[in-house]
Chain length 351, copies 4
Amino acid sequence: MAGTMLAAVKTKPQSGAVELLQVPTPAPKPHEVLVRVKIASICGTDVHIYDWDEWAQARIRPPLIQGHEFAGEVVELGKEASLVNVGDYVSAEGHIACNTCYQCRTGNAHVCRNVQIIGVDRDGAFAEYVTLPEENLVVNPANLPLEMATIQDPFGNAVQTVFSADVPGNYVAIFGLGPIGLMTVALCRAVAAGKIFAIGHRNEYRLKMAEKLGADYVLRSDAGLPEAIDRETEGRGVDHVLEMSGSPEAFNLGLKIVRPAGGVHVLGIYPEPFSVDVSSDIVTKGVSVHGIHGRLMYETWYRMAGLLTSGRLDLAPIITHRFAFKDFPEAMEVMKSGRAGKVVLYMEEGA
Amino acid sequence: MAGTMLAAVKTKPQSGAVELLQVPTPAPKPHEVLVRVKIASICGTDVHIYDWDEWAQARIRPPLIQGHEFAGEVVELGKEASLVNVGDYVSAEGHIACNTCYQCRTGNAHVCRNVQIIGVDRDGAFAEYVTLPEENLVVNPANLPLEMATIQDPFGNAVQTVFSADVPGNYVAIFGLGPIGLMTVALCRAVAAGKIFAIGHRNEYRLKMAEKLGADYVLRSDAGLPEAIDRETEGRGVDHVLEMSGSPEAFNLGLKIVRPAGGVHVLGIYPEPFSVDVSSDIVTKGVSVHGIHGRLMYETWYRMAGLLTSGRLDLAPIITHRFAFKDFPEAMEVMKSGRAGKVVLYMEEGA
Amino acid sequence: MAGTMLAAVKTKPQSGAVELLQVPTPAPKPHEVLVRVKIASICGTDVHIYDWDEWAQARIRPPLIQGHEFAGEVVELGKEASLVNVGDYVSAEGHIACNTCYQCRTGNAHVCRNVQIIGVDRDGAFAEYVTLPEENLVVNPANLPLEMATIQDPFGNAVQTVFSADVPGNYVAIFGLGPIGLMTVALCRAVAAGKIFAIGHRNEYRLKMAEKLGADYVLRSDAGLPEAIDRETEGRGVDHVLEMSGSPEAFNLGLKIVRPAGGVHVLGIYPEPFSVDVSSDIVTKGVSVHGIHGRLMYETWYRMAGLLTSGRLDLAPIITHRFAFKDFPEAMEVMKSGRAGKVVLYMEEGA
Amino acid sequence: MAGTMLAAVKTKPQSGAVELLQVPTPAPKPHEVLVRVKIASICGTDVHIYDWDEWAQARIRPPLIQGHEFAGEVVELGKEASLVNVGDYVSAEGHIACNTCYQCRTGNAHVCRNVQIIGVDRDGAFAEYVTLPEENLVVNPANLPLEMATIQDPFGNAVQTVFSADVPGNYVAIFGLGPIGLMTVALCRAVAAGKIFAIGHRNEYRLKMAEKLGADYVLRSDAGLPEAIDRETEGRGVDHVLEMSGSPEAFNLGLKIVRPAGGVHVLGIYPEPFSVDVSSDIVTKGVSVHGIHGRLMYETWYRMAGLLTSGRLDLAPIITHRFAFKDFPEAMEVMKSGRAGKVVLYMEEGA
């Protein structure tokens, strides 16, 4: 596959600075695989890198090809790779685990001490081709649509969060109605949550999407929330809070509305430490707070394939915008506007 | 409430022998409650008693009013009862726990050593009124239809079985397509099982119902089953087997088709001991077999209320026959025919 | 049992103000039981009440007989009580649950919404006699020494904390070396923790006790701790942190030293909210934080009886001071000094 | 390392036929490692192969070097191996997993569909050198004695069984007092089981060892057992049964003596299918039966290291016989006599 390919390259350590360039097509190492990317999607992480915020400045070393959400086809195997075949329809887990640390050796590779993330620590999928360790590839069911295949990385976050809780028949509150929060609303509906409270802030666009995707109640994250929850749950509170907003206020409101012995499952990332009433809100209530990171490798992926091909879950409304790869800058602007669900990029001209 | 009431009384220790009689209305003891029955439904257990099989001969002491599936209204409180109010719309857990044995004191009252069952060990709900310990009553949501309220006892068996497994997104096989098996099919669909294999035997009526309720595959319990499962699961097997048939062949087939480290969840009751290949089918596969009995008291009931009022689960097609209470014998015949889902009895003439 | 008894009565809403008085012996209600107290022990909560701190001012309504840790003998049954017998050797769960809230009905009575605590919300055990609901009594094994029987309430906190974690063969850090922390050290040793890190502060007396009770490492809660843990665990961190100090610094240090996907189990009570780095210390590490309150009713009590009579756990060194009941003020002073393990009171003169 | 080594080779498909021969020292493949064996121990599986029973006839293809329990030193790395270093003190997981099947990809490699076992499906450790995939090696703590290091494979079976149950403070019955059963007795004592019932058959030697290792009760597996258990547990039954005998009678007795909602954890292998009273003994009691196979990879190994170096567990009495490798035939005879705990082989003359 020697030759060149089109790629969106973060060329300089500054805001923006992503250029569509022809670069050499990468070659797979012995246990790696070369994948032709057919579709990719934009994650909030990609926006952080684009905007060159503090996190990005500390972590990213340009030049870098971003992108970790994608689907494509295996076109070349490294000389010792044997887990997949040329022609396989694949997506990939973006966390590359070291396989040697305590976590990796005990079934918790999703919190590997030495993790490398594609599109962050090495070149990613906003390109015509990408290389990956063979073990990170997941062969998609043949009947999984491309637009579902590409969003498995963020949907996997939703899946790991929801199944760290016990949702069916129970009351659940979802804070944060970005793309992952919205997928979570749809998933909670698909697994028959008893009551679904979708809790947003100011973004009307996304509050409306939450309603459309199956929330029973769409509420604002404000001081009146505990009373509203109390009323709609006959004083019981919610059994589980799924915190995906990254807002300290939401985290603390979540602790207020969860019932004693309930669970708060946190995927949100907060800009800095903040004050928590550990005694009243966690200890004496007997509440558990669960940090959620990545996806269980690879249990979450099998479960996702089951959910997405079952016909019992419809994530199609999440995809609100589609662009050709060459219109990457425009796609990024839509993503940043907040008036979008999930934004996907088709890599081939005619697709 | 002194006076008499109409009741279906098993009068003699023989097959049939159920007479519709006027008997004294019972009075609630201090911690009991008197409920006016509005609807009741017929369980397989009621058929065993009606037919006076071996189990019934060993356990039942006529005269007895059968029936443990019902919904109604609280009309009188015993003088120390305070957990419910007159006028409450209720159903009831039929297992009366002793509250003193090890199981009762450690959260496992569903397997109480000294359990008494209503309609089996004491008078039940095939009558205009029934008394129950106040703690056994469950107040139904106001918007729960009567026909859903009455089937919570058997649906609770389905709920306890399904949630002892991990169904969403996974592959599940349900053996036995009686009313509880059919509810289980519907429930697995409602919680987004990855693939649902409904496995019956000869009863075409119920195989068709399973398909209608959401099974992805409707198969026969025969020697060809493992190969079929293998093919449809790409050699993985099913993650969980829900065995509700009471057939030794089904139990053993379930062990064959479950994947290593999977679970077999058994609600079925078998007429006698039978041969099991414990080494090959349980030990070296690392499989777990879970006996399921009753309903978790009262976690299962809260979850059921959540499921039944969520709008995400439709059990209505399960109710195939409706009778006035006075037509009890006819209702029993339909139930015995096997060509029925759930058969309900309306206690009031004009209902 | 009409007559009077000696009791330690908090007579006024101020610091101290506990008087040894003759008061009427209480009479058990229908489902209650009268117990003759043989031994009692002093809890940190009793010190809070004695010192009349903010919490006490908000919660306690004098006059009140304090005390919730005790053992004794049943001497009279309420007229409907039947769960225990006169003459039984008993202790008691101090949390009186309502039996009607969601938690009580689903196996989580330890976080009952309407809990009443003996010696806090109603008269307690610092008296010759105490009344309790019959369901709260736990019959002790005949061979359980009095001094072990009386400390089951705090030891139950330790048991619930340790068994919410997975300690055997794993690395565990215990913050806070008060009486419960010290019992926890002994318990972790008894269940074969891989490495036990006991972490205290300035109290040399208790650091020495921790060593004596089986800690492998006795360390100070300071900035150098993470490095020390890192070194002694080959960079793995501890698998579980048991936080019993009530110090915000300890809580946050615990989050630093726990390994990714590990657990922090918090029994400590903090005077006020404090800052937590939720993103770095909980979310991206995939850590779970578990609030621990009370004791599982009554699973914890059965397990305790098993542990205390197995001969595999020696808590005797925890009891450092013994007083006659009449010397209550002196006992309280020792307790307040911090130079004590557990302080017990013998109620009978000649004992 | 080209050259020859001494090995115990099963040369022909018949009983006995193990010869001590000089054979070529194996060379490690790219991801393999060559280990110099210092100590090995004999497993029941080795006896099956030696005796050439039905299982062996179906599985083993001579010539084969047996042996999967050992400890030694890494002496050469395959050219791509990097997980261990030359000089490391190691033992190894004997199950070589495929890393591609559903189980391997979801944390259940111990029941890999395509497992290969060393000393069974490929040459093993009854030799001066052995090769293994690098990922199967476990680096032992420096202070772990050789005789403990070599028995980690069978002890790992005990560990996986005990920790699939909830033993501390609870009542536990262990059926089968072979080496693994005896280790299990010691382990249950080390984690403070409430009461330990060790249940054997006719072998007085091992009944005595069970007592010495910490069983509270040593009983015979006969018809009187349920009554004895009932008496010693005040009618509660045991909370967990650990079935390691491979006797159908023991399996069924285990189901009788386990309390409702308890667990039966089965490591034993039975010669053929047998009759089980599934309804009465599993379903209506709400009991769970767990098949146990291998060791969790590699969680069990880390826990073992923690247990074995904690000083809280003494397995030394399990090692009853020590032989030089050249006396392999004699060692095998002792093992077959049943009058032994664990039999170890020292590979070096002067050791």
